[in-house]
């Protein structure tokens, strides 16, 4: 029970990071972006490449930090991956979404995002292969928190949870304390009104893609660090991050953060009564429940 809760909180923190950018993009550009979760995969694999390169250049950086399997080279690689994923998100927007946005409706963008997801996922498969990869092959023993009930936590998991919360806090401070944060919230709330107030929408769109890409990359690396890398990361996280945005209310950053934890914990707890094969369907059930009870989500505005 408590073990499931702990695992759920950890997964939840990863989903939350992935959902931050999605909820902003969905609200600002008014379309459900099915290619969004592929940014997690792009981030995770970009970090793998950087990590291998840094480790080869500077063997001393390839030392595990304390009890973690995390190395300094992977820390730097993660920062690089955040830049790469953010940049990729901006490039895809310029090449595809912006051009479709300019001449067609939102549903064509949903359509195009499905196509982009398929392309990205399979290009990653072609480059890195279908088999699962790991950042580090060192075996890290789990810490036994208690024996009865048995509770196991890996040091990496604690690091991921702390790092995710730190990233969320930084973002919270930016949102609530800086004029950029005000502009971002204004755009997320009401794009037209924000433009009237002098916020340049096209620049904000680029910023949102950069931020969303960076947080997604971190989420992808965190997932890969505590589990493994696979080209299916994007596919597997797509429904959970959508569920998080719908639970929180589309456009609400704080709602998405809370929604991520709710989805993660619910999926973790569901493992007690459901075989693990059904867990991918859990976010769908949560979406249905929200649509039935409160379609606008926890913090969303009522829409028709």
């Amino acid at each position: 029970m408590i073990q499931n809760l702990l695992d759920g909180i950890l997964t939840g923190s990863i989903i939350s990071l992935g959902a931050i950018g999605l909820t902003m993009v969905m609200h600002m550009l008014r379309f459900a972006n099915f290619a969004y979760a592929e940014l997690l995969a792009i981030g995770a694999y970009a970090a793998l490449v950087f990590d291998r390169v840094f480790a080869a250049l500077l063997p001393m950086a390839d030392q595990a930090i304390g009890p973690l399997s995390l190395t300094w080279s992977l820390v730097v690689a993660t920062l690089g991956a955040m830049v790469i994923a953010g940049g990729t998100a901006v490039i895809i927007d310029l090449l595809v979404f912006k051009r479709i946005r300019d001449k067609a409706d939102a549903l064509s963008m949903v359509f195009a995002s499905f196509g982009m997801a398929l392309i990205i996922r399979n290009v990653i498969t072609l480059i890195f292969g279908l088999k699962a990869e790991l950042y580090s092959n060192d075996i890290v023993m789990a810490m036994v928190l208690s024996r009865d009930p048995l509770l196991l936590v890996k040091p990496d998991q604690i690091f991921v949870l702390v790092a995710a919360v730190v990233l969320m806090l930084i973002f919270h401070i930016v949102l609530s304390r800086t004029s950029f944060g005000y502009a971002l919230r204004a755009v997320a709330e009401n794009p037209n009104l924000a433009q009237v107030a002098g916020v340049q929408l096209s620049r904000m769109v680029i910023m949102v893609w950069l931020i969303g890409g960076a947080f997604s990359a971190a989420a992808g690396v965190f997932y890969a660090l505590t589990n493994h890398l696979s080209p299916l990361i994007g596919h597997n996280f797509l429904l959970p991050v959508f569920a998080a945005t719908i639970v929180g209310g589309i456009g609400s950053v704080y709602g998405a953060l809370l929604g991520g934890f709710i989805v993660g914990i619910a999926s973790g707890l569901a493992l007690m009564i459901l075989p693990s094969g059904y867990i991918p369907a859990m976010p769908f059930l949560i979406i249905l429940a929200v649509l039935l009870v409160r379609p606008q989500g926890l913090f969303g505005e009522a829409q028709t």
Binding site: F34, V110, A112, G115, L126, L239, G277
Partner: protein, 325 residues
């Protein structure tokens, strides 16, 4: 010669089955502007529903009721329609992309059920054995395949004619009106939510019929048959052929299925062995590029939507490019 005809008949049977699905999607996306992100779910519901009702009895398995073929077929179609009704009633009154997310979700959920609920679906190994229609009457395999092709084509033509009549009727005009301008349609007293739900359920029932035909042809169904790639294939067929145009939908089905099978054949024949396991990925990327490329450069498809003038307002059909709803 017999070999070539056999292969062509096989190819045409599968393409015609998929064309039925593309027609169903065309009613949803092409005529009504509804985004179905889980085509595979409704296809799968039709296939599994038909198999469970009409399949052979198996003591280890729920289902296998060995019902007569028409009842099993209707049951599969009904199951797909029921799933669509449940999803539609929750999402169609909300922001349009909720339907996309919920249908994508239903595909993930049903695939999980197909893979895990062994008592019902046979799990990963699927369900096999199905007494195919007219199988008792014709013993020669070659003749049987031709007869079966005729049966599938008859269903395709029936669905095509039915949909053509539907979209040309006042009902079809209301669907297009909702797609183009929902507020205006509401102002004219049309219940947009209910009409959308009807179009969505009917389209999904046709997707289910395609699944039912599929299981009648292969006498086998497994979770692989409702993998997400099916959704992408059906979409690519519709967007290449031309959303909103039923002839385009059928054309797209044959073109894309031809491109898919021939690319698979060429990769198997000429690609180095080390690349062979990635044949699927290469084909998926091609499908992805077809979808994105068509949206960027020719969103109306090969055969654009034709909107006929209503009788009395003018003679002949006015050709317009597919409107961006």
């Amino acid at each position: 010669m017999i070999g070539v005809i056999s292969y062509l008949a096989f190819f045409a049977t599968v393409a015609a089955i998929l064309a039925v699905a593309v027609l169903g999607l065309n009613l949803q996306w092409g005529n009504t502007g509804l985004f179905n992100g889980g085509v595979a779910a409704f296809f799968g519901a039709g296939a599994y529903g038909t198999m469970i009702l009409g399949g052979p009895a198996d003591p280890l398995q729920f289902g296998g009721f060995e019902l007569p073929y028409p009842i099993a077929f209707a049951g599969g179609v009904l199951l797909a329609a029921l799933v669509a009704w449940a999803v539609g009633i929750l999402t169609l009154r909300l922001r349009h992309d909720y339907l996309a997310i919920a249908t994508f979700g239903v595909a993930v959920a049903l695939e999980a059920v197909a893979r895990n609920a062994e008592w019902l679906t046979g799990g990963a190994k699927g369900l096999r054995g199905f007494s195919r229609p007219f199988e008792g009457l014709i013993t020669d395999q070659f003749t049987y395949n031709l007869v079966f092709l005729g049966f599938v084509l008859a269903v395709l033509i029936a669905v095509y004619i039915g949909l053509e009549r539907l979209v040309r009727s006042p009902y079809g005009r209301v669907l297009r009106a909702i797609r183009e301008d929902e507020v205006a349609a509401r102002a004219l007293g049309k219940n947009a939510t209910r009409l959308r739900l009807e179009a969505f359920v009917l389209g999904s029932a046709i997707l289910g019929a395609s699944g039912a035909l599929y299981v009648s042809f292969y006498a086998f169904v497994s979770p692989q048959d409702m993998a997400p790639i099916l959704t992408f294939q059906i979409w690519a067929m519709l967007i290449v052929g031309g959303a909103g145009n039923n002839r385009g939908a059928v054309l797209g089905a044959f073109l894309i299925w031809g491109a898919w099978t021939s690319s698979g054949f060429l990769l198997a024949k000429f690609a180095p062995t080390s690349v062979q396991i990635y044949t699927g990925s290469i084909q998926y990327i091609l499908i992805g590029f077809v979808i994105v490329g068509m949206l960027l450069w020719r969103p109306q498809g090969l055969l654009p939507e034709r909107i006929e003038r209503t009788k009395g307002t003018g003679k002949g059909a006015a050709r317009v490019s597919a409107p961006q709803s």
